[in-house]
Symmetry: C2
Subunit: 638 residues, 2 copies
């Protein structure tokens, strides 16, 4: 193990090497950003010694096999310093240095901010404050789930430490005693547009991390020997994560630019770059060609991912359409426990609502794989991103409304293409008395917008159970929308469900309109069907189930069969929900669509009162069908 190697006294030769490496990283960062014509060379320069020390004297990894399970992990949370990250991996031998000059060019994997298109990037960064939560997930996995012995290193900026998500993760990591986690904060004192709140007040920084339960070291961030000392102490620290607070100068080593407030996010022009590179080359001295990282390891090939593809039909939902009334959240909770008991890759992250989302059923079966995220939704999703990056299948469940808290993390998870499962319960006004702050009414807008997300919205316990199995087996990010109230069981245990397929619940050859519903509004639609039937009006009814991908083929066919008149009804705000998804699926066809949705801020009341108030009850659907038929047929008559 390398522990001893790092712990050994550093020689002056090693220090000299790290200094020269840092100069080399600066040169490459300047050269690459100047070639690109944009980027953040000064944010790279402040962290050059930190990265050189970590990559060439501390971390154990196989640069030829960056995804190997044995490697230590490095996350660049201050993602705008991407050129420094790329330069370090190139210097370590992961890819030819020439590729650095493709930085930010179309088609290059060396993008403006790191994404997992690069094998050595576990999660995309560039939205500040996200690296630590993801690292906490990876560190929890390494320490508590897989005992891999890996260490996880994260580089933060000091401006970034203003993000609350950093403190969510700091509290949670200390609570779980993640002593395999080591953060370095590059305290260069300058944000994008002005100095940070704490500037170079290292004591204030130290007090905060210490109060959050971390082992703290304060060092000169341009001194490899001080940095090495701090990383050595981190290795010996048990029961607490470590933060190395590195006092640095923005633009360090770039003459005329060092410490200047106005050089954030600006590439040097060619003339200035040449001068700077000339000076850095002089400092670097002799060639670095002879160097080999002393702690390079020969990793085995990447461990194959654990089996996560289940036959979605293995588990039989136990509900009886004749007898049961069960909420969809309960169907989900029971299914998650049943599936999670067999599939050890499944990990659940809660936000202190396990008794509302029914994830407590999973906790009873698999306590270690149940992570209490407490009331900190950003960190919850961040942890899940880290777990997914280690080939776990994380389910994050909380109230749908509180997922808005984590939208930026969800966005970055989509960019990262991670296999995370997000579950939002208590959707819509139908939750009742708790009032608007507890109602998820914009979750479909949010989740369907992100490319690659599968979005399912089951109406009863059986379909909720099946949906849970489907998303567990699906390789990609998923969202499951669930309701609060107990509802009748619609579907028998043998009913097949599939991603991208809807269920046609009522159908005849004389249908005069199509009603498309999902979740709670399916029951309203069925009641409207009865009322209309009593008047001699026969309509078709679809339970959409899969919002994204949507069953465009069936929708178009059913709408055509129903005279081209469609009523959509959803317990979601008017924009960006089910109605818009249906409109989009029908866009290229001449249909008339009436969209029923929640149009105003709701209030407290019973579920029934609120469905009526929002205009999405059975009566509203009936009226909408009637008036659509009148309106559209009178149009035709003109």
């Amino acid at each position: 193990m390398s522990t001893e190697k790092v712990a050994a006294e550093s020689t002056s030769e090693q220090i000299h090497l790290l200094i020269r490496k840092a100069a080399a990283l600066r040169i490459d960062s300047v050269r690459a950003t100047t070639a690109a014509g944009s980027g953040h060379p000064t944010s790279c320069a402040s962290a050059a010694e930190i990265v050189s020390t970590l990559f060439f004297a501390v971390m154990r990894f196989d640069p030829k096999n960056p995804q190997a399970e044995q490697n230590d992990v490095f996350i660049l949370s201050k993602g705008h310093a991407a050129p420094l990250l790329y330069a370090a991996w190139a210097e370590a031998g992961a890819f030819p240095r020439e590729r650095l000059w493709t930085l930010r060019k179309f088609g290059s994997e060396l993008e403006g901010h790191p994404t997992p298109r690069l094998p050595f990037v576990p999660v995309a960064t560039g939205s500040l404050g996200q690296g630590l939560p993801a690292a906490a997930g990876i560190a929890y996995n390494a320490k508590h789930l897989e005992q891999t012995g890996q260490r996880i290193y994260v580089l933060l900026g000091d401006g970034e430490a203003a993000e609350g998500s950093v403190w969510e993760a700091a509290a949670w990591s200390a609570f779980h005693q993640l002593d395999n986690l080591c953060v370095t904060v590059d305290v260069n004192c300058l944000g994008q547009s002005q100095p940070t709140m704490l500037r170079h007040n290292m004591d204030a920084h130290a007090a905060r991390w210490s109060a959050f339960g971390w082992h703290v070291a304060v060092v000169d961030g341009h001194s490899p020997s001080q940095l090495l000392g701090a990383y050595r102490a981190a290795l010996k620290t048990r029961g607490r994560p470590t933060v190395v607070l590195a006092r640095t100068i923005k633009g360090k080593g770039l003459p005329g630019i060092e410490g200047d407030e106005h050089w954030h996010g600006r590439a040097l022009d060619s003339a200035r770059a040449e001068k700077v590179i000339h000076e850095l080359t002089r400092q670097m001295g002799d060639s670095l060609a002879e160097w080999e990282p002393s702690i390079r390891i020969e990793a085995q090939a990447t461990v194959p991912p654990p089996v996560r593809t289940l036959r979605p039909d293995v588990y039989t939902p136990p509900y009886d359409p004749r007898l049961d009334s069960v909420s969809t959240r309960q169907g989900f909770g029971s299914a998650l426990a049943a599936i999670g008991a067999r599939n050890k890759a499944i990990v659940v992250v809660d936000g202190d609502v396990k008794n509302s989302t029914y994830t407590e059923e999973f906790e009873k079966l698999a306590q270690l794989r149940f992570l209490q995220g407490y009331i900190a939704e950003q960190n919850m999703v961040g942890i899940a991103m880290g777990l997914a990056a280690r080939r776990k299948v994380p389910f994050v469940a909380t109230f749908a409304c509180f997922l808005t808290r984590a939208f930026d993390f969800i966005r970055m998870a989509a960019i990262s293409g991670l296999n995370i499962k997000i579950v939002g319960t208590h959707a819509g006004v139908s939750i009742g008395e708790d009032g608007p702050s507890q109602m998820g009414l914009e979750d479909l807008a949010m989740m369907c917008a992100e490319p690659g997300f599968t979005v399912l919205y089951p109406s009863d316990a059986t379909s909720a159970w099946r949906a849970t199995a489907l998303i567990a087996a699906h390789d990609g990010p998923c969202y499951l929308r669930l309701g609060r109230p107990a509802v009748p069981v619609l579907y028998g245990e043998q009913e097949p469900f599939a991603i991208g397929r809807c269920k046609v619940l009522r159908k005849s050859d004389q249908d005069r309109a199509l009603i498309v519903a999902a979740g709670i509004t399916v029951f309203e639609a069925l009641a409207a069907y009865e009322q209309l039937q009593a008047e001699g009006l026969i309509v078709r009814v679809i339970d959409l189930f899969s919002i994204h991908p949507i069953d465009g083929e069936e929708l178009v066919a059913s709408a055509r069969d129903s005279g081209g008149i469609v009523v959509t009804v959803e317990d979601h705000y008017r924009h960006g929900g089910l109605g818009d998804a249906v409109l989009s699926a029908l866009a290229r066809h001449e249909m008339r669509v009436c969209k029923l949705a929640v149009s105003e801020i709701p209030r407290s009341g019973t579920s029934r009162e609120l469905l009526a108030e929002a205009g999405i009850s059975a009566g509203d659907i009936r009226d909408a069908v009637r008036s659509a038929l009148n309106e559209f047929h009178s149009h035709d008559a003109q």
Copy 2:
């Protein structure tokens, strides 16, 4: 002033009164939640002495005039303890106590969680971690902008302190030395589903707040005399906000329920409630009827709001369509400075990107009304909510993508109906090389979903200038979407713009299709127009400008005039953007719509490369029009 009154020694009579008041508040909280059949009586019970002490011995306010500027302000950040808040205001005389029994009933303003439908609630709470950021905005206003002498009191739960937004606001409040701000944390040690991370470790709580720069007092939260002592010390503390860490028992005073983990969010049944009330009544002793709050003040009528309605045409944008090429963000920044210089109600909140959003132009003119929020988007929006609650007109500006970070705050601002202005720059793939993490591609989905939000998306500097003036003058929440690249100036300084109205840029009586664009895609649409015209195909082109409300009338008329064939094109993800807004406006009419949008996660590249890659360039629009005409006409021929 009441300062002396509070600072005076408390008498045993006063303490006795506060204890009895606390019992009365418990009784009302239990009775109201039992009548409602739901709610959080145990979360009320833990804070009964805190609220009784604040309301009846510390705060200066006129209960008959709760919005008066002279009042001290109270924000219940742990919004689920709403019955306690309502009971306190009823006890203070704001409304008849009988109204408490309408709690959570449809039509009652006493909702499950507090909203500004009640005059004594400045901002809606119920999503945890939002009260302190809003309070920080109010406290900043009181101390630095208006010197009102008010004090701002906030009640947090301990579980809530896991939310990062609490620490964003804690850092920012200390940085601004908000010594008129006093937080109490009700450390009852139990979250919804299990104990909190820190349980009753008061030292750990204290260390955190202290490290974030706060004056800290630790007290027994059921002792009015200790609480009073702490609030007295807070009054004398200069240069720092104060936190009172109150050790409490959840369900305190409710026999058989006190300290029990399983009683979160459960109303007592009638029999148990009667027993509990009987016991509390016994403790309370003699009637409270004689009591009058000793520090009640006679407030003047609510101060009228500052003039914020501007004639939107007062300021003339200086751009020249023949000469200039200016980004929309720059048009916004200049307009904001011009308008803000005259309208003193305008306050700007930045997220350390003022040199990218051009709000630095405002800062130069009005430094005190320019609030640097640093890199903490949740707190930024929270501060703005507080400012809006004090009748300021706050503009929050950052990159559109980072607004996803604050979506939960935006959601609660919508529920609160606050007059905040949110501005997102760097929208879309057209930002270029920085890559997907910096591209706002889901902001329209997010902002248009919220009821009541006005959403404008100008295409050039002139319309950006006008849009800025329009939203400054509009009374209600607004979102302004802006791009990064410099673009030609389309509109002359006299061109009129209005919320809810689009601009028809190309129009003839032989139009064969309608192209609807906005922002950067307007220029692509105009280029496509030229290409199609060269082929003899004449189309209509609309710059949508106002996404919400949308100009449905003009869209329907223009689509009809153009053969019912519509191509929408947007630099936004496919779901929830401009295309869906247009589809929704046309839903009830038989049109054929082809939606061009960003369908996959983008990457780094030039603006032009990325527009083409996403399929939203001029060439893509041209091809879409061509193939729509072919497809739809061949349909017709069948």
